[in-house]
Symmetry: C2
Subunit: 153 residues, 2 copies
């Protein structure tokens, strides 16, 4: 599954990450190649799963999703059944944009985007009513200093 990428592959990925609406000819010109090889490289990287999805990024503020919380979770439960239910809950909730299982004394971190603090509280109440959680700390974002989906390739 691990495809070795050369300089041109990397340049293509940079361009696509920055603006996926560019035409093949445009990308080819920028990376110093021509259409067909660029097209073949992109296809190869899609097949290899390196390019996962093509999407649009929306402005959360413009959509009225003005509150962003990072939620630190400690749990006393570590059985498989509890975990299955917890994960299913997170995956089902559209306001949960990210969830990670952590090493260390904090077990999980979530990134949650909602309209306002009240909407967060509703999410929180729903979560703790569905699964038993030992300790929750919510960190409220005052300002998004940086957000990028561009990975350094």
């Amino acid at each position: 599954m691990s495809v070795r990428l050369d300089e041109i592959d990397r340049k293509i990925l940079v361009e696509l990450q920055q603006d996926a609406s560019q035409s093949l000819d445009e990308i080819a010109r920028k990376v110093g190649s021509s259409k067909t090889p660029v097209w073949n490289r992109i296809r190869k990287m899609k097949d290899a799963g390196i390019i996962a999805r093509q999407t649009v990024l929306l402005d959360a503020e413009a959509l009225g999703l003005e509150a962003c919380f990072f939620v630190l979770i400690r749990t006393s439960e570590h059985e498989a059944e509890w975990q299955r239910k917890f994960l299913a809950t997170l995956r089902a909730r559209p306001e949960v944009l990210e969830a990670h299982r952590l090493a260390g004394d904090i077990d999980y971190i979530l990134k949650v985007r909602v309209k306002n603090a009240r909407a967060y509280d509703q999410f929180y109440q729903a979560l703790i009513s569905e699964v038993k959680i030992y300790n929750v700390t919510a960190l409220l974002s005052m300002e998004e200093i940086k957000f990028t989906t561009i990975l350094p390739v």
Copy 2:
């Protein structure tokens, strides 16, 4: 700047977020409209800044970026000049995917993606050598349970 979205606009945003490579005809069919009105709605939402960017999402693991850290930062410095330098550093560092200024006793949270723990340490050393930081806690992700850029519209 706030554009009111109707049901069709929302459906279009759902489709575009799920797969931006779909043709206009396909989206039009799914949302129960036709090509030109869908195109006009998309253009309006781009102009309004609701649709911010069109991009591809890459698979970090496939690219060898196997370590993800959430970094909790406390600082004793709160002057404008310190903050300016801190933000400039974060923005310049491609391994910093997200940075938020927080309310509460933790001042900042970062999401950092790197190849491995050593690469994180290099980032950490570079960061603390550039700006004075009072306290840093790094949370290591063991498993990405959920990651989505799809906002609930």
